[in-house]
């Protein structure tokens, strides 16, 4: 109890002193608090980093919320949080909010996530699908029209198609519609939606005629219950694997995950150390939480970007 009060006092003191005491602080133990919010997709990774960071800097209080990418950017634009987790890049409107509020920021890539297109193991016909076919199925005009498998490809059976996908509030939905339909947040409405991807897994595995999509990690954990569909973007059908997501041959359904660090927060020693720690450990921690790590060169590029942002030279 007392200890925490001291930590708080110290945090307040450090914050009050600002940059002028930077030199002294660097030789001391790191203290302070870092508030992070944003995407629930990036959350597991940031949580893992925060957990490990606690082992090296036990007196820094790192808290992570999950208001969603959009909700997080709202707080970020008001200067209420230090770092925002984002499963997409910042939108124009959000960017201008930040500019008006005088919030300068640095966008850092931290990992990749693949979107898996899956069917039930009982589905014997669908092994690959083209992006054009996916668009045909999911675009708003398909509502009430594309209802059977043989409408998509002639040799597929004359059976009803049952669609499953994440709810419209999720970043996964935004990303899928952007990549497949061509316009973010636009798709047919007559599909089974759930905010909980585990519900989608259950729905698809028991339905021979189901087709759905969600984060690759949910497939990896349920490989015995689902069948992965290879996606053909004109260069042959590609299955999402660690390799194909990493080298971007699995396109367009792989996406980068980001953290946004505000300039003001990056003036604090503990935030700088946290972000460096994040980039240094993302490679190993990404695997633990089911995402796909960046290559060493990509990580180095992000580290260099961050160093330039805080005005640190090598």
């Amino acid at each position: 109890m007392k200890k925490i009060v001291y930590v708080l006092l110290a945090a307040g003191f450090l914050a009050a002193c600002g940059g002028s005491h930077k030199e002294e602080a660097s030789s001391e133990k790191l203290t302070g608090a870092i508030s992070i919010d944003g995407s629930s997709t990036v959350y597991p990774l940031t949580e893992a980093v925060a957990e490990e960071f606690k082992a090296t800097a036990p007196e820094v209080r790192v808290t992570v919320g999950l208001s969603g990418t959009g909700g997080g950017f709202k707080k970020f634009g008001r200067g209420e949080i230090d770092i925002n987790d984002a499963s997409r890049t910042i939108k124009k409107a959000e960017d201008s909010t930040c500019k008006t509020a005088g919030i300068d920021f640095c966008e850092l890539k931290v990992a990749f996530d693949g979107l898996a297109v899956v069917v039930s193991p009982e589905n014997t016909w669908c092994a690959d699908i083209t992006v054009a076919e996916l668009k045909m199925i999911w675009e708003p005009a398909a509502q009430g029209k594309i209802m059977r498998w043989n409408q998509i490809r002639k040799e597929w059976p004359n059976e009803e198609i049952h669609l499953f996908g994440p709810g419209v509030e999720s970043g996964t939905y935004d990303y899928f519609t952007e990549a497949v339909v061509g316009k973010s947040h636009s798709s047919r409405g007559d599909y089974t939606a759930s905010e909980d991807d585990n519900v989608l897994v259950q729905g698809i595995r028991n339905d021979k005629n189901a087709l759905g999509f969600f984060g690759l990690a949910y497939f990896t954990e349920n490989q015995d219950k689902l069948k992965l569909v290879a996606v053909n973007n004109g260069n042959g059908a590609v299955l999402p694997t660690e390799q194909t997501v990493k080298d971007k041959t699995y396109a367009p359904l792989s996406r980068p995950l980001f953290i946004y660090v505000s300039k003001k927060a990056a003036e604090r020693k503990e935030v700088v150390e946290f972000v460096k720690f994040y980039l240094a450990n993302t490679k190993t921690l990404t695997k633990d939480v089911g995402y796909i790590a960046m290559t060493d060169q990509e990580i180095e590029a992000e580290v260099a970007k961050f160093k330039a942002f805080i005005g640190e030279t090598k």
Partner: protein, 285 residues
């Protein structure tokens, strides 16, 4: 068929229908509880109760969420109970019939039906931003207090209404003032119903997620909150977070956390039952 026979059959049919309704509720609850217990009971141990959240399901624990929920529970009760009971007493005992009174009454009843996320938005603007509380336990507790106030007010009023008129009149006849009558006769007589209302509304409050997330409750809190100004998380948020993770181990963690949350609710309901019985024995008229 005689009239007697027909009535008998209708009577029996209704009885069976009522039994079916009861059994339906009880069985679905048992099925749900059985399922959760099967999944989660083996996970509950000292390590689970005292560990901070973690990316590894077998290392994760609920201490920060558990303590956060207790903080929220206690603070919400401290804020909502005096205000709610006070407002209920005023509306039932002091306020005269008037247009304004009708207006209040309709509003309070309607408030009980407002979706909880609306309270969250209100809490975010008023408590977290305007009053500068930020995403603290206090801001969360204030928001949940607003959420359960209508329920407490209505419960207080209904319980006061149920006190026999003779009791009131006898008290006045013996020369007691209005406050004395309320304090020594009406409140003790109505306390069973009021306490039940309070406990049920608090049980609702600890199950809420949406308004707290809006106000700024977090998901990863690597410390045990020690004051009302600390940031926090609560058990429903932790449970929701675990359930939506792909790794199987988190589903077990979630089941275990659900059992703990249910236990808190059971204990609270138990307390309500105990006090209702105790007070009802005391009050004789």
């Amino acid at each position: 068929m005689s009239k007697y026979n027909r009535n008998y059959i209708v009577d029996k049919t209704f009885q069976w229908f009522a039994i079916f309704c009861t059994a339906f509720g009880v069985l679905s609850l048992l099925l749900f509880l059985g399922n959760i217990c099967f999944d989660g009971i083996g996970r509950i141990n000292w390590q689970f109760m005292t560990s901070l959240p973690s990316r590894l399901p077998e290392k994760a624990g609920i201490i920060s969420a558990f303590v956060g929920t207790l903080w929220i529970l206690v603070l919400t009760a401290i804020i909502a109970v005096p205000v709610g009971v006070g407002a209920g007493i005023y509306l039932e005992e002091y306020a005269g019939k008037s247009r304004l009174f009708d207006f209040f009454e309709i509003n309070i009843t309607n408030l009980a039906g407002v979706p909880s996320i609306i309270y969250g938005l209100l809490g975010l603007e008023v408590f977290a931003r305007l009053m500068n509380m930020g995403g603290s336990i206090l801001a969360g507790a204030c928001t949940l207090s607003l959420l359960i106030l209508p329920v407490i007010i209505v419960a207080t009023r209904e319980s006061l209404k149920a006190v026999p008129k003779s009791l009131r009149e006898a008290s006045f006849a013996l020369g007691a003032t209005k406050w004395q009558t309320i304090r020594m006769q009406l409140l003790p007589a109505a306390s069973g119903g009021i306490v039940t209302g309070i406990i049920l509304s608090l049980a609702r409050a600890i199950g809420e997620t949406a308004p707290l997330i809006v106000v700024g409750a977090l998901a990863y809190v690597p410390f045990v909150p020690t004051s009302p100004t600390d940031e926090f998380t609560v058990m429903p948020i932790q449970i929701f977070n675990w359930i939506s993770r792909p790794q199987k181990g988190f589903a077990i963690d979630a089941a275990a956390a659900i059992i703990i949350l249910l236990l808190i609710t059971f204990v609270m309901n138990g307390i309500a039952l105990y006090y209702r019985n105790k007070w009802q024995k005391k009050v004789k008229w």
